[in-house]
């Protein structure tokens, strides 16, 4: 039973929703709740979080009977690699500048693919970086520094 639960779609959906809902309620305890007539900043987060947690509970219960399995065709490497590259882009664009951030983004996301070819990616990075600089910085004039902090 346990093995089946782990690749059960409803189980994971329920667990995720319940976790987010409970987290929202817990975090919202810092904000005044108010009353229904005069809602405080904590009112909506608490109500929505609790509702979401209830939905999570419903899916968890349902997962005991449902048998829809998780699509196994997804790559942990792509999920982690892409997410990390995107976050790094956001961190680097202010601290290191537009060009280093782009290089990290393109290289990082290309490396998330199983068909990573170093030379191809190097060429792609060079072309895309030049293209992005010309388009976004020169043509449109977005206020980012090409290199920063050096």
């Amino acid at each position: 039973m346990k093995a089946r639960l782990l690749d059960n779609k409803d189980f994971w959906a329920g667990a995720l929703l319940a976790a987010i809902g409970v987290a929202a309620v817990v975090l919202a305890r810092d904000y005044p709740f108010g009353t229904s007539l005069r809602m405080g900043p904590g009112y909506f987060p608490t109500v929505l979080g609790a509702t979401l947690a209830l939905f999570g509970g419903y899916f968890l219960v349902r997962s005991l009977r449902a048998a829809e399995t998780v699509d196994t065709n997804w790559s942990l490497r792509a999920l982690v690699g892409l997410t990390v590259s995107l976050i790094l882009f956001g961190v680097l664009i202010d601290r290191a500048g537009f060009v280093p951030a782009l290089v990290v983004l393109i290289f990082g996301s290309a490396a998330s693919s199983t068909e990573f070819k170093f030379r191809e990616v190097l060429l792609l990075t060079a072309i895309l970086t030049v293209f992005a600089v010309v388009l976004f910085i020169w043509a449109i004039g977005l206020p980012y520094r090409l290199f920063a902090g050096f």
């Binding site: 005044p32 005069r38 809602m39 405080g40 900043p41 929505l48 892409l82």
Partner: protein
């Protein structure tokens, strides 16, 4: 008829070679930038606003409208081709448009989106010209209960039209609302779920969510599939023309979408997505075989694309007639017009005073024709212009508060503030303004002035006087707005 005279006059202005050129430039640049993933009409207009500074007001408006439609269409293009909505209104286009593209029918999808948009945009234009003012009146009647109902309808629509499990759709609606409350609370200003990060106190942007859910999600899924099963299609867009069957299927959705979009467009404050969602839901309900939706039904592109264009066009109605920006894009348009020296709509203050519950003007420059003659006033002429210049006199006369008071009007309850020793803005501005208002007032609403003694423009005012003034301010508001204290 008067209206048609105006329309023909408008066409005459628009069709000049120069203005057509600006329109072409606007549409081209707008489409090019709108195609870039994640850059919607709002961002495009904001970026391109400066290039309209140096052209005439008419050309600027034409060019901005061109940019707007171009960017809007560009957003639909990416929605269809790469499942990446340029802005909220093209989310729905992703559902069936992208499926069509995967089936090699990107051409017809793009074509029908363009045809639907064009038709809806044209109808919208006539609606703006013919029925703008009366429609704006109707929109003003919408109050909190109506907006609440619309919001509820939008959320239910979001759950109903989703594919598959209804419970999961509802759960995701709640999840979306939860994401939406990140940032400052509207009522109290308390930052929620921001974890001390400044960027988060502004809330999570739509583009961020859309790119995460649609783009990153799609890429991650694609990378997991073995190479031969990839859903990345050949991007060659062949046979652009829709078939006769496509056209036949699209006529109804385009007409209905135009109607739905026009309705929602007139209402200020309805987001751009609600019209296209509503249209999609209607088409799905009316379809003989609803199961085709989500799998590349052309109705699912034609309806919403028409609806969001009619919506976009009709958003001009509240902006032009009432001066109310009904969406972010309209707020920018309003800004662009103001930069050009045009105030859209009636001057709300002077022509629709009944919209105001109470007014509290403080140390105001009320007489724009003589301000430069007192104390430091001459120093502001570089900002405001000066009545000594005949050209600038006309502009100043047009909006100067004192000279625009009309006798026999019912003005809202007004309490003006000034101080006997204000040498920045001399108290005479307020004295003349209030005296003229009192003479012109046609109803019992009080027109009062509060003159602080032994005080100036405001800086350095002792705390006790600030408290007195605030108390009077609030007391006046509580009385005139008929507020009732609620005991907690």
């Amino acid at each position: 008829m008067d209206v048609f005279d105006h329309l023909i006059f408008g066409f005459g202005v628009a069709i000049s070679l120069q203005n057509l050129f600006y329109c072409l430039v606007g549409v081209t640049v707008g489409t090019l930038i709108g195609v870039l993933p994640g850059v919607g009409p709002l961002a495009t207009i904001a970026m391109l606003l400066p290039i309209t500074y140096n052209v005439s007001a008419v050309a600027a408006l034409i060019m901005l409208a061109g940019i707007y439609y171009g960017a809007q269409y560009g957003g639909s293009t990416t929605a269809i081709l790469v499942n990446l909505p340029g802005e909220t209104s093209s989310i729905v286009t992703c559902i069936d448009g992208y499926q069509m593209a995967r089936q090699g029918r990107a051409g017809p999808a793009l074509a029908i989106a363009a045809i639907g948009s064009f038709f809806a945009g044209t109808v919208g234009t006539f609606l703006v010209a013919l029925a703008g003012p009366p429609l704006a009146e109707v929109a003003l009647q919408f109050g909190a209960p109506e907006y609440f109902s619309l919001m509820l309808m939008g959320l239910i629509a979001a759950a109903v039209l989703a594919q598959g499990d209804m419970m999961k759709s509802l759960a995701m609606v709640v999840m979306g609302l939860l994401l939406g409350i990140v940032g400052s609370d509207v009522n109290t200003g308390v930052p929620r779920f921001s974890f001390g990060i400044v960027e988060l106190s502004d809330g999570i942007g739509f583009i961020v969510v859309a790119v995460g859910v649609f783009a990153v999600g799609e890429i991650v899924k694609n990378l997991g599939d073995p190479a031969e099963e990839r859903s990345v299609f050949d991007t060659k867009v062949t046979h652009l023309y829709p078939t006769l069957d496509d056209l036949k299927r699209s006529i109804g959705p385009i007409l209905r979408g135009t109607g739905i979009g026009s309705f929602f467009g007139v209402l200020p404050g309805t987001g751009p997505a609600i019209a296209s969602f509503a249209s999609y839901m209607v088409e799905k309900k009316l379809a003989a075989d609803p199961s085709r939706f989500g799998k590349g039904a052309i109705e699912g592109v034609a309806g919403p694309e028409s609806a969001n264009n009619a919506d976009a066009q009709c958003k001009f109605i509240p902006m032009l007639t009432l001066g109310l920006p009904a969406s972010g894009v309209m707020a920018l348009m309003l800004g662009a017009l103001t930069i050009q020296g045009i105030q859209p709509g009636p001057e709300v203050m002077t022509q629709r005073p009944e919209l105001y519950g109470a007014c509290l003007p403080g140390v105001g420059v009320m007489d724009m024709l003589r301000f430069q003659k007192f104390t430091i006033g001459w120093a502001w002429t570089s900002d405001y212009g000066s009545s000594d210049d005949p050209e600038q006199f006309k502009f100043l006369r047009a909006y100067s508060p004192l000279q625009n008071i009309k006798s026999g009007t019912c003005y809202p309850p007004t309490l003006a503030f000034t101080a006997d020793h204000d040498d920045r803005v001399v108290p005479g501005h307020t004295f003349k303004f209030i005296a003229t208002l009192q003479a012109a007032q046609a109803c019992p609403n009080p027109i009062l002035v509060r003159i602080e003694t032994k005080a100036g423009h405001g800086a350095g005012k002792p705390t006790s006087k600030q408290i007195d003034e605030a108390a009077d301010r609030f007391a006046f508001l509580v009385r005139e707005l008929h507020m009732k204290p609620v005991l907690q």
